[in-house]
């Protein structure tokens, strides 16, 4: 039985797709067979972030409509044998994902995989609700910024009332806070909410803090999940988060301002 993880946030642009790609790749790097699914119907982007956009032949809607077999639509990652991408459709019908049809697809995936990572669209409309409905765990991607924190709180409420686990009175979806785009130097200057602030306000367990990093844009430029960049602080922070998710104890890194050495100032690589 695969574990279903939803990557969600309410607010757009906080790093859901970056996180879904990084987390799925991180799980695969740790030896777990993982598929990452794009639930953002009509606004397909996971394929670009994963660097497989030119290999998309069939998509989620084709599989649901029976036009393609599931294994025809799954794209095997070229960097890691255990990692698969399931692209969404570019159809304009954003309500195309029917809950029963999604359930059938997930049931089929669960036979083959250890983890199913669902990349949710922004908002709290049909697509976002469908993405979180089947979740066993949720990664709540939050920026240290008022609108993002408020929307995360809203999504946490929806997970607690509208998920399958909530409807069936099962053990609730396990919630994990992932604080992204964290800028320790701005926190020090009192310009940004601290990790502790956000954790206190949302009161859910903290899975990781991902520092704001130039390497994230470089990674998406080239279609490489950030965890494959061993130099990147963000990549390493994601790998820490994956390790914690798998039950390891890891200290928080990259939450204090980094002292820039003369060398670093001179060659300026973040």
């Amino acid at each position: 039985m695969a574990k279903v993880i939803v990557v969600t946030s309410g607010k757009g642009g906080v790093g859901k797709t970056t996180t879904a790609a990084a987390f799925a790749a991180g799980l695969a790097l740790r030896g777990h067979k993982t598929v990452v699914i794009d639930f953002d119907v009509g606004l397909r982007n996971l394929d670009l972030v994963m660097g497989c956009e030119r290999r998309v032949v069939f998509d989620f809607i084709n599989v649901i409509n029976g036009d393609a077999k599931l294994n025809q639509a799954l794209i095997k990652d070229k960097r890691n044998d255990l990692l698969y991408i399931f692209p969404t459709s570019q159809t304009r019908d954003k309500d195309a994902l029917k809950r029963e049809a999604v359930e059938r697809v997930l049931d089929e995936l669960t036979e083959q995989f250890d983890y199913i990572v669902c990349d949710s669209p922004a908002g709290i409309e049909h697509g976002a609700i469908t993405a979180l409905y089947f979740a066993d765990s949720a990664l709540i991607v939050t920026n240290p910024e008022v609108s993002s924190v408020r929307d995360s709180d809203r999504i946490i409420g929806i997970l607690a009332s509208k998920s399958r686990r909530a409807e069936r009175n099962m053990e609730p979806v396990s919630l994990n806070l992932l604080l992204t785009r964290y800028a320790p130097d701005r926190v020090t200057r009192g310009e940004m909410l601290t990790v502790e602030d956000v954790r206190e306000i949302l009161s859910i367990p903290l899975l990781g803090v991902i520092p704001e990093s130039e390497s994230v844009l470089r990674a998406s430029n080239t279609g490489t999940p950030i965890v494959f960049d061993e130099e990147s602080p963000a990549g390493r922070a994601y790998l820490d988060a994956v390790a914690r998710f798998l039950g390891e104890q890891r200290e928080l890194r990259f939450v204090k301002p980094e002292r820039k050495s003369f060398f670093r100032v001179l060659f300026g690589r973040a």
Partner: protein, 104 residues
């Protein structure tokens, strides 16, 4: 020190402001999120009934569902201080029976 502040004006720590604002708005939103669905409907219908007798605004009826010990408490506050009697008006008390009600 005063000269120092003049040259380097201290800005209020904006992160602290953000935290405070979030805590206030979220405590409010969480309370209404957990409220049962019927409360807004109840409020609207109460407004319609009371409105047949006295002229009141939407915000003059407040409904709260709280807990006191083991019992749930439905608290309804209707503020009619200064409200005008709707006596004799069409749709009001003593007039024709109200078939619909438009708050406002």
């Amino acid at each position: 020190m005063r000269l120092f502040n003049l040259i380097f004006p201290q800005r209020r720590n904006s992160a602290a402001v953000a935290k405070e604002r979030l805590q206030i708005i979220l405590s409010h939103e969480r309370a209404s999120r957990d409220a049962p669905d019927f409360l807004p409907i109840l409020q609207r219908e109460l407004l319609a009934v009371v409105g047949r007798f006295v002229e009141i605004r939407d915000d003059m009826i407040r409904i709260n569902l709280g807990k006191q010990g083991d019992t749930s408490l439905l608290e309804i506050n209707v503020e009619i201080d200064g409200a005008k009697l709707n006596f004799g008006r069409p749709g009001g008390f003593g007039g024709r029976r109200a078939t619909s009600f438009e708050p406002g």
